[in-house]
Symmetry: C2
């Protein structure tokens, strides 16, 4: 008989383990966890380690990820067709801990090179951003951005890029509807992102519903705004000249900025996963958890997000709440999203994708347990709603949808200056304004997409590196990329995805 | 005493008239309609022609546009602050006419030069379009499109352009939610637009929720599709090479196409207005109504749209219904939208914009009465839902939101090969794939934005041209632009707005 094949059991109470062999394992082969396979099982998928009766609990991460729809004898393949989702955790049962959790021990001696802004925030890039108040002007603004890039940018070598922050909002929307505050504050807050250096340009049309006072702060910002419909603007030439002139003024100032040494406490890291597989929760996401803890220990800010991926693990979070308000806010955001989905005839189970399932995830509960691993082990100091700005240093739950572009856009609005994205299936995703480090959950993807992935977390499953070591590696890479010493794979290639607003209100 | 100043009374029963003088008219001045102004009244705004008591009807176009919130003595300025909206027309009271309306007399002898497609439709442009199944791939596809434009397009002189049909849908959405069929069929049908010559390229990722079978038809199309996650695609270089190779094949075939003489019955014209003012309903939109009638008489297809702008005039439409099904379908689409808005805490009054009001429109009823003037006088042969393809020649009501980009995108999905857009406030709007003729409702805008507007309908209010003459002019311009003999203002300038999907379903 052959040597048993290695597989991965995450928690001692688990009754499934994960196939680690590329290409899967054949029927009849024995696993190191004792089960002999009753059928072929693909890479990343689960095998029953004991006889699970119909209705019995399927346990991974020490948590119930589903109930068996049929008897699952030891050695059978366990996938999404064989389990029913349990009820989501009862939000009313969540209570704050009697004693607040201890903060992690401080970490000193780590810095990065960033652009200090007038409001105290720090940019990791030096970008001229042109915001718009309505899609009507997007075509003209994109046109001018191309001209600025070609004609002006070469004269301002310290400026990294010019970006149009285009979106589909601004008019043709129910601007006073209950939930319209979400896209509105998102647009407003994105312009305040630290990577834009407090130099805010807003180009509007003039007749739109989104009025300038709704999206311009008068904090410590150097602002310029214009409306294409202003009486003195005689046509396209005059309009584009005005945008070019205003851009020149902002570029002059941006160009004078220099990177300076900043403590890690000036980092604002947004974490996200997309195209997850069964390895997300045991390789890439725990690695992010370690890096998150290091940043928090060094005084920095970290966000984890994606309501539908936290919903089924939310019972694990109250014990990490730094104060009772965190639990109340978690419940508020979860309830809001439950109601939002229900109104549209859906629930949190709509989250999982065909790719997640091919990758071995048997539903949103299993996906969720892997997803929250990104948040590490530090206390949760705050919860913010979609499009809100971050208020506290430390670990914050920023409530957002799980869709990659919507989540990334909302984390930008929160003030993120560095983005980390884990993926098992693979995505070429990149934000246009902010470095986006991409972590592959498995080595197959990292090898195949050698020029699109930044980090191979599959080495953890292969035993080549510990989660702890990989987390430290990622922490150092974050400092290098934040400092502009290293470019992300997607930035080298010049890939830029769209910003996508979250608008739960109707359009007209 | 000075000579009375001209103003515009649209219908004999109206008790308001519209100020025609640029810059407005001062208090004390007499209008030709008899009223002496009690206060200064701006250009495009309304003046009471008789004493209107509190609660009395304000009448324009022979219809009640609102009820006076206060006594409005003869000569007073009547604007949105002084009137309350009446109840919208009762949908249950709409019934089909006893006798179907007579079709308009046929019009013969007009043709244009277009690209005939294998499915019988005709393109007005010869464009290579690359559709995507998910936003994840948008950054890479935009990158390749820039390369195709620079490296390949010069070798295919008969191909007008290459365009990425990017969107924010495809994953992170509740793909099985009740209303998800709308964005899905929209994406599918856009790829079938006649301007893409039946050459359909779809680039996907591989793990997304929007599966290829949901967005690929296997009609008479030459298709290619690829997924970036395919095992043999080793990184960015291999992925982009694959897209370039597929593009080359499609360009070869597109390049062989030649324009040929086509009857007007091959035209599919979508009409829309945006940034309306008080002149929209008396200059530009009636001019479009005449052009619409001419196209319909010549056997072509015309769409009017924008549910919230038809809602308050819907009682005027049943007498034009070619069959009872049209009335039923009108009621169905109006009811659906009423419910959609109500669910989000809004109603049809959320439609009007600050610009509409500055331009003299006192609410959605007045805006609506002006908006439906675009539909001319021909029978309404069909009603389609958002994202559906057109089924019949003649005049169709294509139910869409009124937001410009969403409406334009849905009309593209319906099969539009030429777009006409009227505006009073001014917008540089342009579709990236389809000629968009822009008609200014007033001469001030046409003069100020001389290089952004195609047509000055303000000449109608000035008495320089009749509505009939202007409609014929527009009809001839449509044939010229459809034939590629003339370029639109926005195409000359190279302005391209984004396509924007209508997704009434939740995201996850």
């Amino acid at each position: 008989m052959n040597k048993p094949v290695p597989s991965l059991k995450v928690h001692e109470s688990d009754n499934v383990s994960i196939i680690l062999t590329a290409g899967g394992v054949k029927a009849g082969v024995a696993l190191d966890t004792g089960a002999v396979l009753l059928e072929d099982v693909p890479f990343g998928h689960k095998v029953a380690l004991a006889d699970i009766p119909k209705g019995g609990q399927v346990i991974r991460y020490g948590e119930v990820i589903g109930l068996a729809k049929m008897a699952l004898p030891k050695g059978s393949w366990v996938n999404e067709h064989m389990i029913e989702l349990p009820e989501p955790p009862d939000l009313e049962s969540l209570v704050a801990p009697v004693e607040a959790p201890q903060p992690l021990p401080p970490l000193e001696g780590y810095t990065f090179e960033g652009y200090r802004n007038p409001d105290g925030s720090v940019g990791t890039r030096n970008v001229l951003a042109i915001s718009i108040s309505v899609q009507c002007v997007a075509g003209v603004v994109e046109h001018v951005v191309r001209r600025i890039r070609e004609e002006l940018l070469p004269h301002y070598p310290n400026v990294d890029d010019v970006v149009a922050l285009t979106h589909s909002y601004g008019c043709g929307v129910a601007i006073n509807a209950t939930d319209a505050y979400i896209p509105i504050r998102t647009i407003k807050n994105i312009a305040l992102n630290p990577n834009f250096g407090g130099e805010v340009m807003v180009v509007g049309l003039g007749c739109e519903k989104l009025r300038p006072e709704m999206i311009m702060n008068d904090d410590e910002l150097t602002q310029s705004k214009m409306f294409m419909q202003e009486e003195e603007l005689l046509g396209f030439g005059a309009i584009t000249d005005r945008v070019m002139d205003q851009a020149r003024e902002h570029l002059e100032r941006l160009n004078k900025r220099q990177r300076e040494t900043c403590p890690v406490s000036d980092l604002v890291v947004g974490m996200q996963c997309g195209g997850s597989d069964a390895f997300s929760g045991i390789t890439a996401n725990p690695m992010l958890g370690i890096a998150s803890d290091l940043i928090v220990r060094a005084g920095g800010s970290v966000m984890f997000s994606e309501v539908t991926e936290v919903r089924d693990s939310v019972h694990l979070l109250p014990r990490r709440a730094a104060n009772p308000g965190v639990v109340e806010d978690l419940v508020r955001e979860m309830s809001w999203y439950d109601a939002y989905l229900a109104k549209g005839g859906a629930d949190r189970a709509a989250n999982t994708t065909p790719g997640n399932k091919m990758g071995g995830l048997s539903g949103i509960v299993e996906k969720s347990l892997g997803s929250v691993a990104k948040s590490g082990s530090s206390p949760i100091v705050d919860v913010i709603g979609p499009g809100e700005r971050l208020r506290r240093k430390g670990l914050t739950f920023a409530a957002t949808p799980a869709g990659d572009f919507v989540c990334g856009t909302l984390q930008l609005a929160a003030g993120m200056n560095l983005h980390i994205f884990t993926t098992g299936r693979g995505t070429p995703y990149n934000l246009p304004t902010t470095p986006t480090i991409k972590v592959a959950t498995n080595s197959g993807l990292a090898a195949r997409w050698f020029d699109l992935m930044d980090v191979d977390a599959g080495r953890i499953a292969a035993g080549e590196v510990s989660v702890e070591e990989a987390g430290w590696e990622l922490f150092r890479l974050i400092l290098d990329i934040a400092s502009g010493r290293t470019q992300t794979a997607a930035d080298k290639l010049g890939i830029k995805n769209d910003l996508v607003l979250f608008n739960p209100a109707p359009i007209t």
